[in-house]
Symmetry: C2
Subunit: 410 residues, 2 copies
Amino acid sequence: MITVLEGGVTRVPGFLAAGVRAGIKRRGLDLMLLASEDGPVVAAGAFTTNLIKGAPLLVTMKHVKNGELAAIVANSGSANAYTGKRGLRDARRMTRLVARLLKLRTGDIAVASTGLIGLRLPMRKIETGIRAAVEELLNSREASLNAVKAIMTTDTTPKEIAVRVDLGDGTPVTIAGIAKGAGMIHPNLQTATMLAFIVTDAAVSPAALRAALQNSIDQSFNMINIDNETSTNDMVLALANGRAKNRSITLKHQDKRFQAGLDEVLTELAWMMAKDGEGASHLIEVQVKNARNKGDARRAALAVAGSNLVKAAIFGRDPNYGRVIAALGYSGASFDPSKLSLELVSDRGRVNLVKRGKPRPWRAIGRARDLMRSKEIEIHVDLAAGKACATAWGCDLTYDYVRINSRYTT
Amino acid sequence: MITVLEGGVTRVPGFLAAGVRAGIKRRGLDLMLLASEDGPVVAAGAFTTNLIKGAPLLVTMKHVKNGELAAIVANSGSANAYTGKRGLRDARRMTRLVARLLKLRTGDIAVASTGLIGLRLPMRKIETGIRAAVEELLNSREASLNAVKAIMTTDTTPKEIAVRVDLGDGTPVTIAGIAKGAGMIHPNLQTATMLAFIVTDAAVSPAALRAALQNSIDQSFNMINIDNETSTNDMVLALANGRAKNRSITLKHQDKRFQAGLDEVLTELAWMMAKDGEGASHLIEVQVKNARNKGDARRAALAVAGSNLVKAAIFGRDPNYGRVIAALGYSGASFDPSKLSLELVSDRGRVNLVKRGKPRPWRAIGRARDLMRSKEIEIHVDLAAGKACATAWGCDLTYDYVRINSRYTT
């Protein structure tokens, strides 16, 4: 059983957080620090597949390679991407300063940045900010909230979650995470950079943590991404300090409950990102079942959730299921159109749009419009081609989305 | 040399056109007929790759298989897609009626439909419309214009072009085309269905016409499409009546000038579609040069032209070149970011945004904002990785785009 707890990363014993204003953005907190009280602990990371990687990623990828990290420093307001050698130097300087102040090795510090591409970091402000953050490191509710606020860009809500789960050996462990969206959820979630930092007190080997993290990412963050539109700076890091003293989780001795807990944390964060997509007025959840295989299920779900036409129709509360069908058709998934079923679901009920290939007459689906008054819309797709399923998330395409993204730098 | 002529398909001797109001749409012309005066002539077609194909496509794919067609009937207002066996029967009925009235074989008639998916065709109205169109068939300027108007959906301008070109053997031939967009140019051009009908008086074998048509499509319509977001009903047809009496073009005796003329017709129509993208305020042309190979050049150009973030930035006249760089990075093209150059070009001049890996300082590119006052914006990308080049077209993402696509059925 998974229990959801109040609060964020500081619910996990042994982790401290801080969020301060360094003055990089025009207003608000913009520099965060997340640190282990035990020095270096087990760590794993996942990074953007974009050919162009921001300087912080190049530094962090190197630092996490040995499976250990002790702290994460991150800023919003500037991505430090496409900034050449000076950018690399700046990212390294951030890790060096944190290491010095916390009496750690530079190689144990991860660094992340989010914001505009092509801007150099204001290093003086950042250094002052890092000093302030080190002073403020705390294991409090507020500290976790400040940390997540400091990495927000176009996010309208801070995203954090903590869960408790009993492992296979009966030991209770806590898993928690903070994240920033994903301004541009669907079809290019991560061009606005997705950051997520996960901590746990479970004892787990670096390889097992890496594997579990990748599993969770594949069904969470990667299901709100489509079109390979990955940012230069996407980063997910997980730190595990082993304080729970469970029987250590390894590749050989995996623990399904740990995976379930981690899945819950990442899926919740992904869901919050989709819900907070730039300018979004509806969350769209696409559940595909009975696909020929997992790949088909994922492709089909992502194609529907990522279709601009579907997204615009949902904004306009227009039950234009033809657009869903067209998206399924070009998704690359194999299925027989004459067996396809489609259902629209919200907290106001459910409406069959297509049943085993038979569309409902257009005039008869006024009820679907009513369903779409809800903020969360589910599209259930039955491909009738096999047994695999997948869920993807997106949000609608609105006037506000255009407004936000046409005025980002100015 | 290619000479652009006034007018559309009726510039080609031996072809008649008509566009009438059948009453399928709320207003305007909605049924067109294009017919050869010589009965069946050489024909080739290209069709959507969407798994789900509208009924008219299934019928037309069969009828064009023998390399001959005599007439094309098309309607707007309803796509006759996802309409099951009754839809197939309706599409066949349309070809049968045209054949009977024009004293042709049913197998020589192509049929196309565009509009909402999942609606049955109002067959009584369509049959009355077909009879009226047959009466009105003419080789006049107005007939061509009426024909193209009858296939418009969200298009704001009729798209037609005619060119004259001297073939290798000195014979002048005419090539002309009409098309409908592509409401939703980029990233899913064809979900709103793209139709293009090309006619020529050149003498060309079915196989050579098919090959030439595919070549032209690859650098025109396929460069304003991305993400596999193809509609259920996309169709391009070409008819060649041989009246020019040139030495017949075959796969063995190809003619570069014929190809160039055809390229011109399709590229112009593609350009018109991009410019008329739903709600568009800017046409975006992305020219990629020095890519490692053709595939990389195409991928890179399409990724930039199809990026929602780039499109929104151009709407807001925001020279946010980081978004272009991010799109190039995830495009799949191979290149060295430190050698990349980016230039913004319009009729107001040109601005270097990145020169061999060095971005211009943010503050210094106010001039780029001024350039973006033009309606047509070019982004020139030098990947410095090889010698291949490609051009893609798109349009910006605007409030009107969202408005149009959130209120399509209602």
